[in-house]
């Protein structure tokens, strides 16, 4: 296929060249901008992942990951976040068919699962600090609390955002701008789940090596 055919292939406008089609619709522009923000957020996380990988065995004689982490507990956290990502997807479908009741329902399930994840994570943090494994104990623990804590902070902000969005659906309904924001929220929530895959693989399952 030649380049000219390739340029004309997508869409139904056929003969109108790219240079004359005008700007993309605002839904596409807004989502693409938010997509770029998410990627930059992931790049920020990569710095924390790099710090953790380098410092993972610098325990300064303190407890190491193998002693501190409980895998079945982490599996439970992972399940909460994965299923909340799935219900968030179902919420997207409810928004697309403009169903208020279904949107509320799936948003509520997403919120509950997200809050359960956050509760599990916080109680894990408190248990570790109670055992003397606080962030000040060693470089390993500083890096651990920074990485996992930053992810937890993102989840917290996501929950606040979800509540704000439900308030907007209640007061404004499905205005184009509200739908756009809801859509950005679902992208954010899916991205948090992707970061968590890195966390449980590198931090919790990598603790043996």
């Amino acid at each position: 296929m030649s380049l000219a055919e390739n340029v004309r292939a997508p869409g139904n406008e056929g003969e109108v060249p790219f240079s004359q089609r005008g700007p993309a619709p605002i839904e596409t522009v807004a989502s693409f901008g938010f997509w770029l923000f998410l990627l930059s957020d992931v790049v920020m996380f990569s710095g924390l992942f790099a710090a953790y990988s380098v410092l993972a065995d610098r325990t300064a004689g303190g407890p190491d990951g193998l002693r501190l982490f409980d895998r079945s507990y982490v599996l439970l956290e992972t399940a909460c976040l994965l299923f909340s990502s799935f219900t968030c997807g179902l919420c997207t479908l409810a928004i697309e068919r403009r169903s208020v009741a279904a949107t509320y329902f799936w948003a509520l399930i997403t919120f509950i699962l997200g809050a359960a994840f956050l509760g599990l994570e916080l109680s894990e943090f408190l248990r570790m600090i109670g055992e003397g494994a606080s962030p000040t104990r060693s470089a390993f623990l500083s890096a651990f609390f920074t990485l996992v804590g930053t992810h937890g902070l993102h989840v917290t902000l996501g929950l606040v955002w979800l509540m704000a969005m439900m308030a907007q659906v209640a007061t404004l309904g499905f205005l184009p701008i509200v739908v756009r924001r809801l859509f950005c929220f679902t992208l954010f929530w899916h991205a948090l789940d992707i970061v968590w895959i890195g966390v449980f693989t590198i931090v919790y399952l990598g603790a043996r090596w």
Binding site: T28, S31, L82, T201, L205
Partner: protein, 130 residues
């Protein structure tokens, strides 16, 4: 008018996350969830098992994690390499490139510094500062 607004997103690129239709969308999320569950359980199994040659386990874990991230990107973000998603895909490729540079670059440099640093006593370190 409605015809026009339908044609435009395809021509100008599709937003990341936009799903095709209700029924296909639901199946899409369900398949993604199934893959993600299998890959997650496989990761947890691989980390605790003795049946796999031990030095190969980190590589296996990395492969499973990358596979699961791919599943999430395809089934939850609905990202594809199609012509209407060129912008989204290129941005993602650049993001992955930067993440790879930061993470593997840092690990490589720090391991190299560690290996090349002669073991020093406190006394030698003090002398170096003068």
């Amino acid at each position: 008018m409605s015809d026009h607004s339908h044609a435009e997103p395809a021509a100008q690129g599709r937003a990341p996350g936009a799903s095709p239709s209700q029924r296909a969308g639901f199946l899409n999320y369900l398949v993604g969830l199934g893959f993600a569950i299998v890959l997650t359980l496989a990761s947890f199994w691989a980390a605790g098992t003795d049946t796999v040659w031990q030095p190969a386990v980190p590589v296996l874990l990395a492969a499973l994690a990358i596979a699961q991230m791919g599943v999430h990107v395809v089934f939850f973000f609905h990202l594809s390499t199609g012509p209407e998603q060129t912008n989204n895909f290129l941005a993602l490729a650049f993001g992955v490139f930067v993440v790879g540079l930061v993470v593997f670059g840092s690990m490589l440099i720090m391991a190299n510094l560690n290996a090349n640093m002669p073991p020093m006593t406190m006394d030698q370190l003090m002398k170096m500062q003068r």
